[in-house]
Every structure is written in structure tokens, then in C-alpha cells.
């Protein structure tokens, strides 16, 4: 029991109390449910892998985006985490492919440029396979540092490098926009 609690506690957002609650729930559940959970955990590790082109999590390699004949394979959107792909896909307005970094530069966590998964992206750009790279890391200090680093790294490859716009969120009130957000909104304005 202590071992199960300890393992659950390693999951993000799970403290000791939550881990105990989950462990007791598993203890009380019927054997089939417990077995289904265990086998789902085992299978996800056995079946899922990283796409050899874009680092997305996938059960087939290359992933469905990289293998798609209808997607623009010369347009790449760079995101921090695989979950960010779903956020971009929700727009239904993007038809390019992706590159997943699995993190950002983070001096406080010892993550330097050598730790980012960038080699396949650099290869694609230097081979001339890409027309445009969209840097869609978060507009935080670490996300900005990462975008800056990637732009420098990819610049000589000849692809267009762009950064997603930041500014006043849709549906919000300008009154509540802070100074940085408003400055960026003004900088990123567009012709109407």
C-alpha cells in the first residue's frame, strides 16, 4: 500500500492526501477494474512513442500529422508540449504540421539549449523542406527565451520564422489589460 501511495504521489498535482484517497479507492475497487487500470498504464508505455519527425506522442510513426497528404508539410508550428497541439487544432484554421519541444529553456530547472529536442526541426529547415516556422511557445519569460533561441538557430536555414501574436484576449475588456499586454497588442496591430 505504501508503495502504491508513493507511486501515485509522483503524478503531477497529486499530494499525499490525494494519493492516499486514490490508493484506497483502488484497494476497494473490484479486481477487474484494478487490472484494467494497470494494463492501461502498461500499454500506454508499450505502444506509444515519440514521432521520429516531430516528437509528438503517437502510436504510429510518423504520426498522423506528419503522414497526412492533405496537410501542408512545409509549414511547421513549434509548441512546448504535445497537449498544445490540441489547442492549435481547436482553431480548425491551421493546416500545417508540428514540432514538439517537450519543454522550454529553464535556467532555474537546469534546462539549457542542449536539452531541448530541436535536432529534427533543424534538419528539416536546413534541408530546405520548410517554408515557414511558427514559434508558438508561451509568452512567458521562459517561452520567450526559447523562441528567441530557436529563431537564432533556424535563421540561416532560409525558412520564414514567425512568432504568434500576443495581446488582449478575445472577449475580455481592455480596461483589465496590463501594461505589457497592451504594449504588445499595439505592436501587433494589423491593418483593417
Amino acid at each position: 500500500m505504501a508503495r502504491l501511495i508513493e507511486e501515485l504521489r509522483k503524478l503531477p498535482g497529486i499530494g499525499t492526501k490525494s494519493a492516499q484517497r486514490l490508493a484506497f479507492h483502488i484497494l476497494r475497487s473490484n479486481p477487474e477494474d484494478a487490472e484494467a487500470l494497470a494494463s492501461a498504464v502498461r500499454e500506454v508505455k508499450a505502444r506509444l512513442q515519440l514521432c521520429s519527425i516531430c516528437n509528438n506522442i503517437t502510436d504510429v510513426d510518423p504520426c498522423l500529422y506528419c503522414a497526412s497528404p492533405t496537410r501542408n508539410q512545409r509549414l511547421v508550428c513549434v509548441v512546448e508540449e504535445p497537449t498544445n497541439i490540441a489547442t492549435v487544432e481547436k482553431t480548425r484554421g491551421y493546416n500545417g504540421v508540428y514540432h514538439v519541444l517537450h519543454g522550454t529553456l529553464s535556467p532555474l530547472h537546469g534546462v539549457g539549449p542542449e536539452h531541448l529536442r530541436t535536432s529534427t526541426l533543424l534538419d528539416r529547415v536546413t534541408r530546405g523542406d520548410i517554408d515557414e516556422v511558427i514559434l508558438a511557445t508561451s509568452p512567458t519569460v521562459e517561452g520567450e527565451a526559447t523562441a528567441h533561441y530557436l529563431a537564432d538557430m533556424l535563421r540561416s536555414g532560409g525558412a520564414r520564422i514567425s512568432r504568434i501574436a500576443t495581446g488582449v484576449p478575445a472577449g475580455s475588456d481592455i480596461e483589465y489589460a496590463d501594461e505589457v499586454t497592451m504594449t504588445r497588442a499595439l505592436e501587433g496591430r494589423r491593418e483593417m
Binding site: 498535482g13 519569460v141 528567441h148 537564432d152 496590463d178 504594449t183
Partner: protein
């Protein structure tokens, strides 16, 4: 319950639950304290980008009796590190300031000179200007914490360094002369000793017009990092990214 409105620097945040965050703040009036920002990840209206490390804010918070964490209600940005371009080095410098302040300052102990130091180095930390503010901050923090040894004469024999190097060793206090140095000691050049002296007499604004390439006073920076780490009895993570 006491409501406060205080000038502060955001040092760090830790996610808790789905959307809450614990925030470490260095307030000007009350020193360092920790607060709970409820649904900070969702409430852009109350926090926006204000919880990024080293953002200078006016924090609105409520102190509750017998509770360690204050309740952080909102933050207005006075100045944000995101108003200027950010690259890896600048992010590392910002992380360094935040980490040193977080680790050296005790809770609830106001330190106005440290607060002013942090504001002034922040102002001068740009993508094309990292090494001067980082070195200046590190050295001044050692001094303000009372950890700065004599930079003019040997700690052991009192001989002035004059035009010679001073020597320092990772595990021991003070600067010593060549005669008292250890085989593993590292040198601090007379030029860098002179720079340290100037740092303590000159506001940073008086130094920024000079050229500060990464190798200038690199030995002084190493000395400062080592001194901080020795007194804190731990490695500073952000210094890895600042080893030129």
C-alpha cells in the same frame, strides 16, 4: 484579517491543485512572504502576466491570523521583464536574481537596500547587457548579507594585495595572498579587485557605458557565485546558465 497593498517583486510560483498557485513575494515593507493566488492560472484578469519571476508589482493581499500563507488577491504590474526582449542569457540572469533573493532572504524581514539593488539591476538587465548587472548584483548581495571579506589585504597575514592577485578557495572564508594560497585556490586578478572596489563606490548607472564582455571580471563573478553557494550551503541552479 489585515488587507495590505504593497510594492513587491515576484520571486517564484509553484502550482497547486488545478489552477491555484503559491507565490513567493519580496515585499518592500514586509520582506519575503508566501501567498496563495486562487485560480491564478485561470484569472488573467486579476494576475495576467504579473506572476512571472522578477515582475515589479503592487500586490494586494490579506493576512489572516495564525496562517502562514497570505491570500493574494491581485497584482498590478509596475514593470515587467517581458517589456524587453528575452533571450536565454537574460532569462538566466532573471532566474539568478530570483533564486538568490528566494534563498538568502528570511521571511518577514524587510530589506530596503536589497529591494533597491534588485530594482536597479533589473533596469539594466537587457539581452545586450547581462554580465555587469549579474556580477554587480552578486557582489552587492554578498556585501549586504555581511559575507564580503576584505578585498584589500590578506585575511591571514594582513598584507595588502597591491598589484598582486588575491586567492580564494571554495570551502573557506576570505581572500588570501599568494603565500597563503592553497594549490586548489583560484586567483582574483588585481583588475577584478579594482572592479569590486568600484562596484562598492559607484552606482550601476555609472558603469553601464563601459564595455562588459563575458570574460571581463569573470573571476570576480566566480568568486561571488562561490561565496553565495558556500553561505547558502547549496548549489545555485541558475548559475549553470551564467558560466560564460
Amino acid at each position: 484579517m489585515i488587507a495590505h497593498q504593497a510594492e513587491a517583486l515576484v520571486l517564484r510560483t509553484w502550482p497547486v491543485q488545478e489552477a491555484d498557485q503559491i507565490v513567493s513575494l519580496f515585499t518592500r515593507d514586509q520582506g519575503k512572504l508566501k501567498g496563495m493566488a486562487k485560480s491564478a492560472a485561470r484569472s488573467r484578469r486579476r494576475f495576467g502576466g504579473a506572476l512571472e519571476p522578477m515582475t515589479h508589482v503592487v500586490a494586494h493581499y490579506v493576512e489572516k491570523p495564525r496562517q502562514e500563507l497570505v491570500r493574494l488577491d491581485s497584482c498590478e504590474i509596475l514593470s515587467s521583464p517581458l517589456s524587453q526582449p528575452v533571450d536565454y542569457r537574460r532569462a538566466a540572469a532573471l532566474a539568478f536574481y530570483a533564486e538568490v533573493l528566494e534563498e538568502t532572504l528570511p521571511d518577514h524581514d524587510p530589506q530596503d537596500s536589497v529591494f533597491r539593488l534588485a530594482l536597479t539591476v533589473l533596469e539594466h538587465t537587457r539581452t545586450d547587457s547581462i554580465w555587469l548587472p549579474v556580477t554587480y548584483f552578486a557582489l552587492w548581495m554578498i556585501r549586504l548579507m555581511g559575507w564580503m571579506p576584505d578585498i584589500e589585504r590578506c585575511t591571514l597575514c594582513g598584507r595588502p594585495f597591491g598589484n598582486e592577485s588575491a586567492w580564494f578557495l571554495a570551502g573557506s572564508d576570505g581572500l588570501v595572498c599568494g603565500d597563503h594560497s592553497h594549490p586548489a585556490s583560484r586567483a582574483l586578478s588585481p583588475q577584478s579587485l579594482a572592479i569590486a572596489g568600484r562596484f562598492f563606490r559607484t552606482p550601476i548607472a555609472g558603469l553601464v557605458s563601459e564595455d562588459w564582455p563575458p570574460n571581463r571580471a569573470a573571476d570576480l563573478r566566480r568568486f561571488a557565485f562561490q561565496s553565495l553557494e558556500r553561505h547558502l550551503e547549496r548549489k545555485l541552479r541558475s548559475t549553470q546558465a551564467l558560466k560564460a
